[in-house]
């Protein structure tokens, strides 16, 4: 991977990912509504929401909050750019974590009690999923012999064949990363909850619009991770990966609509247990 390809990848990702992510978010809302026996909003509703937020008065409790959010957005774009241009998976993982860190710092900077509770919980979420995500990167290296995502195209068989346990583990923490119920502790997409809007409580108008766009890009990237398991030398495998990505996303929506939120203790323990069991067992399988 050269710097140039990562740069071009980042630019392309920054343009294409928000469009795809917006459609995904719209799909999420329509499917959720149908699951609840409602008609639901139009597919482009998330786009309307963000355009409206951009039209609103620009006000925030301090001047640094928006700066942090812009950093979160930028690093999410860089992370996606590295991933989709065939770059280093480990770097991609670290970049997206950095993006989450900026998001948390933005919430802390507002000094609002609700936002702080949301930020605490977001930190716990990062702690919960991070071990599994790192094991995913290492397992990927063991399966393909390289950290570069482009190396999947040299494979005879998709990575999921040798590291299917890690795939299951990643699916588990994906629910946390996508902030879906039962792990939507820091901020729920559904209205009214005990911590108001959690981590985004103090973010309003254009700032909130940037947060939404960051989430769209994150969702596309995470689904990209899922697809990575199913790509190998054969070009048709990309179609297979896309089908799996859509299926996984629908599964996440199904889980979101059918489970009540859990306490953070259960989230942390279960996520670490999954990482330990799936990760270690898979390494043992790979070595022997």
């Amino acid at each position: 991977m050269t710097m140039l390809s990562a740069l071009i990848g980042t630019l392309l990702f920054a343009v294409i990912a928000p469009i795809l992510g917006c459609l995904l978010a719209g799909l999420d809302r329509v499917v959720s509504a149908r699951m609840q026996g409602r008609v639901g909003p139009p597919l482009l509703q998330p786009y309307y929401d963000v355009r409206k937020l951009l039209e609103k008065e620009d006000a925030s409790v301090n001047s640094v909050e928006k700066t942090y959010i812009i950093c979160a957005l930028a690093f999410a774009a860089v992370s996606g750019g590295i991933f989709f241009s065939g770059g280093n998976l480990l770097l991609c993982v670290f970049m997206i974590t950095l993006s989450s860190m900026f998001f948390i710092v933005a919430a802390y900077s507002t000094r609002s009690p609700y936002a702080e509770i949301g930020a605490h919980r977001e930190t716990l979420q990062v702690m919960s999923y991070e071990p599994m995500v790192l094991l995913f990167a290492i397992a990927f290296f063991m399966a393909t012999g390289s950290f570069n995502t482009a190396s999947v195209f040299a494979l005879e068989l998709p990575a999921v064949v040798s590291i299917w346990l890690v795939f299951l583990g990643l699916l588990y923490v994906l629910t946390i990363k996508l902030r879906k119920s039962p792990f939507d502790l820091s901020m729920s997409h559904h209205a009214h909850q005990e911590i108001v809007r959690g981590i985004t409580t103090e973010m309003s108008g254009p700032t909130l619009a940037l947060v939404e766009i960051t989430h769209w890009m994150e969702n596309v990237l995470f689904l990209g991770w899922v697809g990575l398991f199913f790509v190998w030398g054969n070009p048709i495998s990309i179609v297979l990966a896309l089908v799996v990505m859509v299926f996984v996303y629908l599964l996440e929506i199904f889980i979101d609509n059918n489970f009540a939120r859990v306490k953070w203790q259960l989230m942390l323990k279960s996520a670490w247990l999954v990482a330990l069991v799936c990760g270690t067992l898979n390494f043992v399988l790979l070595v022997f």
């Binding site: 609840q36 409206k52 039209e55 909850q193 108001v196 809007r197 409580t201 103090e202 108008g205």
Partner: protein, 148 residues
């Protein structure tokens, strides 16, 4: 085109309602009427909301709360008074502690009378409110252009 009308997020506050109107407001936002068809989302956060639904009359205790919520909302914003209590004080108008309708505390854009106000009336009021929201959004845009 203003996008304000396509995604009106509401916040609901019970001033000193008898709870009749609140039940109707929540019924309006329930799956039966499915407000999300029009992009209506019930936020619990004034900083995210565009439409402020107030039920019940204003009294000495809650006038500061109503003003605070209104001030925290960002422009463009619209206030809808739900129920006759919120419009004028209703049957409680001559209580010793009641100041009157919501318009005694903050500017009200749409009045939805009824005791209790019916969900259909609330939907009508929100649709009216959305038109006002659009106007305010346009005015805000002009203002921004002028400032430049």
């Amino acid at each position: 085109m203003a996008f304000a009308s396509k995604s009106p997020w509401v916040i609901h506050y019970d001033a000193s309602s008898c709870n009749g109107c609140d039940i109707e407001v929540l019924a309006t936002l329930c799956p039966g009427f499915d407000g999300e068809r029009f992009g209506v989302v019930n936020t619990g956060n004034p900083k995210h909301a565009d439409i402020f639904l107030v039920t019940g009359s204003v009294n000495e205790r809650n006038i500061s709360v109503i003003k605070e919520i209104y001030d925290q909302m960002l422009e463009p914003k619209v206030v809808v008074a739900c129920g006759i209590c919120a419009c004028s004080g209703g049957i409680f108008h001559d209580c010793y502690n009641v100041i009157g309708g919501v318009d005694k505390a903050i500017p009200v854009d749409v009045y939805a009378p009824g005791c209790a106000v019916r969900p259909e009336a609330i939907i009508d009021a929100i649709v009216e409110g959305v038109a006002v929201l659009d106007e305010k959004s346009k005015a805000l845009k002009e203002q921004k252009k002028g400032a430049r």
